[in-house]
């Protein structure tokens, strides 16, 4: 099978963390050649994130999340504070199609790598910048991460139980994957336009703006009915039961709901709690919801989440165990579609990583290549792409402009 793009398209990836690097990774899955450039002084900080793996392993190479978001890239280092380092970035950009960066506003300009400079070198260049709150505006300097973007777009204000005020952060730093997906889309749109016009362009993507559509329903509820929705947690505005119920086992919980009386009767039959007049109609169930939830919990005490979910699904009810990560990965549906892909990566060994979400019939995405070590492909990139001689590359190394070690 061929890769998705047969003509070589090159990406210069200056991004760090998750949102920005995800863009380069998704392009690499299509067959783009992605050159990740890390500053030798300020390497991708996500290399140090959640490094809870074996502490004997090299600290900057054992981050599960870095190794998840940089797969299939060529890893290089450059001292971006040195004129020589900046010059080499420009030489890579001269023959590249895409630059992706998510520095704070103004940093690329200070490096001497603003879009104006780069597009003068390469008018066909598409550059995507991904600041948290935008590159202009009164609060553009504010620092944002996946969680803070999740808060500022309105999601956190809606995340909580129905009966308390505490708000909660989701576990996946939602702003990050949303930013990365939008960034990937932005690159592809601008490249597509370039096919038509012959010109590149700069795309600014404020990550918080990419995330605001996630609360569109609440934004509309506020505007149409002048009501700010309170978090509703495991409940539903009109249906009952609707919730997450404890089952047997240490982490045993099952989620299901009854939109309408037919589904409720199916649930009551499966759980063996039919015939209670307090729960005969939807309005009655909603009125007596605490009692209903207690009765359901009582009925589930000796059952496992898996068996209850399976029985409810067989009865036509949407139901699911509340899966932890290892349970998600061993779910028969996830396994049947080979969603997770084993990848052997230097230093950390073989693990399963999420594979292609879009399964293409002719040109599948390539998802089984590891993330690079710091500076792993310096020699390949500077020799094969820039045509430098080994002696020149040795000199760069000696001057500390490239390297495989973080510089103090």
């Amino acid at each position: 099978m061929s890769t998705m793009v047969e003509r070589k398209l090159r990406v210069v990836d200056l991004a760090m963390g998750w949102a920005g690097p995800l863009v380069g990774q998704m392009l690499a899955e299509m067959g783009f050649e992605v050159v990740k450039i890390e500053d030798t002084l300020r390497f991708d900080w996500w290399r140090g994130s959640l490094s809870l793996a074996d502490r004997d392993l090299r600290p900057i190479e054992r981050s599960a999340v870095f190794n998840s978001a940089n797969r299939g890239k060529l890893g290089t280092t450059l001292d971006l504070s040195s004129p020589r380092g900046v010059e080499l970035v420009k030489r890579l950009v001269a023959d590249a199609d895409v630059v992706v960066e998510n520095y704070s506003p103004g940093v690329m300009k200070r490096f001497g790598l603003s879009y104006d400079v780069l597009s003068a070198i390469n008018p066909r260049l598409v550059m995507v910048s991904m600041p948290s709150f935008g590159s202009e505006g009164p609060e553009c300097e504010a620092r944002g991460y996946g969680n803070t973007i999740e808060a500022m777009c309105g999601v956190t204000g809606l995340t909580g139980y129905h009966d308390t005020e505490q708000r909660y952060t989701l576990s996946n730093a939602l702003g990050d994957p949303i930013g990365g997906l939008n960034g990937t889309f932005a690159v592809l749109v601008a490249l597509r336009e370039r096919e038509r016009t012959g010109r590149g362009q700069w795309v600014e993507l404020a990550q918080v703006e990419a995330a605001v559509p996630l609360v569109a329903d609440a934004l509309m509820e506020y505007q149409l009915n002048n009501r700010i929705p309170h978090p509703i947690g495991n409940r539903h505005p009109s249906h009952a039961p609707h919730g997450v119920y404890q089952c047997a086992g240490e982490h045993g919980w099952v989620a299901f709901s009854a939109p309408g009386d037919d589904r409720w009767r199916a649930i009551a039959r499966v759980l063996g709690i039919e015939g209670d007049a307090r729960f005969a109609t939807e309005s009655a169930r909603k009125r007596n919801e605490d009692a209903l939830d207690a009765k359901i919990t009582e009925a589930l005490r000796d059952k496992t989440a898996d068996e209850i979910a399976a029985a409810l699904i067989a009865a036509g009810v949407a139901a699911a165990p509340v899966y932890s990560a290892p349970e998600v990965m061993s779910d028969p549906q996830i396994q049947a579609r080979d969603f997770f892909v084993p990848i052997d990566r230097a230093i950390v060994g073989t693990h399963l990583y999420p594979g292609a979400v879009a399964k293409f019939s002719s040109t599948p995405l390539v998802t089984d290549r590891p993330a690079p070590l710091l500076g792993e492909h310096n020699r390949v990139v500077f020799r094969d792409i820039l045509g430098m001689r080994d002696a020149e590359i040795d000199a760069l190394e000696a001057q500390g402009i490239i390297g495989n070690e973080p510089r103090e």
Binding site: V5, L50, L52, R62, A64, S68, F133, G137, P138, E139, A142, N147, A151, M152, G157, L158, T159, Y161, E165, R167, Y168, L170, S171, N172, I178, F185, L188, A190, L191, R192, R196, V203, E204, A206, V212, P213, D217, L219, E221, Q223, L224, N234, A255, A318, A319, A320, V322, S324, A325, P326, V328, M329, P332, Q333, A336, V357, A358, F360, S361, S362
Partner: protein
């Protein structure tokens, strides 16, 4: 905001509710011509909320009005032979078909993806479905509540002594929609950069959700540590990422690096804590997280959200207020950027909707067109494009075809 980047790209939209319509909206907002084809009664999303109180005879809820801007609306009964025939004529010359029916539905309509790909070699099809087009659970029912649960989003969130907490709204549907829009673009790249023909992309909404859970799925394999509910904390680790009550609501604190911790101590005027051996490294701050929280929590309770945001950010601590959706709509930063766009919706009146997050330097962008009324563009598309006469359109309407 509507850009013209994809001008000339033609998309046939057979989607409903959220995951499909948001995917095609992403494409229509950047200039693809999206023809949304609905059954004569309209897609289900038109009648789901939020609806204005006492709304009657609306052909749209508020979410529909947002998700379907810049599209053309055509009705067509695909159960009729004539409806399918017109569908084929619309597909002739189209680049992308996006659908989010239950798997097998297209085939039952006589529109099996493999047949369409054979008949229209340049067409690509993006299918978005709950579980994907195969697998043992393919046809099982799934809604947002159970999608969050099965996809691993619910398990690690909430209070340790309460049930795991379901995330709000339909977040995973939007994630899947983004993959759908990207897949549409990817299939165009593949077709025009080597392959020469279209193909089918199969997207599982469940897998889209699972793809974002790398803190769980991958990190768990590395560390063996199961991430469990940690209340107001963002998991347990060498960081203090926490949602705290303050004088007028809640605020988010993101304190990870030593420098951020030093700044936090400065903000609290508790500089002596920097040298406190309980807190002087990220690891120590993890071990003694409860003791540190006991110091930080009262400080937050004494201050307003906006003060914490301003003063914290001045010290380069990524602190944020937790805004309500009303506050997001009035946020000065987004106002200065003219992010929200006012659309004069023909049914709901003026509404403010999120604009495109893409700022493309080669375009100024044009105002968005409102979501179509049911069958609004029947005459323009079926008449203008396919040459159906007004008289035939009238008889089709009478016959329940449009």
């Amino acid at each position: 905001m509507r850009y013209s980047s994809l001008s000339g790209t033609r998309v046939i939209d057979l989607t409903h509710y959220i995951a499909g319509p948001y995917a095609t909206k992403l494409l229509s907002d950047v200039g693809a011509e999206v023809v949304k084809i609905e059954p004569p009664a309209g897609e289900g999303g038109r009648r789901t909320g939020p609806l204005p109180a006492n709304a009657r005879d609306l052909d749209r809820g508020g979410l529909f009005a947002f998700l379907n801007t810049n599209k053309f609306g055509v009705t067509l009964n695909l159960k009729h032979e004539r409806g399918r025939e017109l569908m084929f004529r619309l597909l002739d010359g189209a680049d992308i078909l996006i659908e989010n029916f239950a798997p097998g539905t297209l085939a039952r309509m006589g529109l099996a993806p493999s047949d369409l790909l054979a008949r229209f070699p340049r067409l690509s099809i993006v299918s978005i479905s709950n579980f994907g087009q195969d697998g043992p659970l393919r046809d099982a029912p799934l809604d947002d509540l159970t999608l969050f649960a099965r996809g691993g989003w619910t398990f690690p969130v909430g209070e340790p002594d309460r049930a795991p907490l379901t995330p709000p709204g339909s977040l995973i549907q939007y994630v899947a929609a983004l993959y759908g829009a990207i897949a549409a673009m990817q299939s165009l790249f593949a077709r025009d950069m080597g392959l020469g023909h279209g193909q089918h992309a199969d997207i599982s909404i469940l897998e889209a959700g699972v793809s974002t859970m790398i803190y769980e799925s991958v990190a768990f394999q590395y560390s063996g540590a199961l991430r469990v509910r940690a209340g107001k904390r963002f998991g347990v680790g060498p960081f203090m990422i926490v949602t705290l009550e303050c004088r007028d609501g809640y605020a988010g604190l993101h304190c990870v690096t030593d420098r951020q911790f030093e700044s936090l101590c400065e903000l609290m005027n508790r500089q002596e804590l920097v040298k406190d051996e309980r807190f002087c490294t990220a690891l120590q701050r993890m071990v003694n997280n409860d003791a540190l929280l006991a110091i930080v929590e009262p400080f937050f309770l004494e201050h307003d959200r906006v003060w914490l945001y301003r003063e914290g950010q001045n010290l380069k601590i990524p602190m944020v207020p937790i805004p309500s959706v009303a506050e997001v709509l009035e946020w000065e930063q987004l106002k200065a950027r003219r992010f929200f766009e006012t659309i004069d919706d023909p049914v709901l009146g003026p509404i403010r909707v999120p604009g495109s997050p893409l700022r493309l330097s080669s375009h100024r962008g044009a105002p968005s067109r409102p979501a179509p009324r049911l069958g609004e563009h029947n005459r323009e598309i079926l008449g203008g494009r396919l040459g159906i006469s007004d008289r035939e359109l009238e008889s089709m309407r009478a016959g329940g075809l449009i």
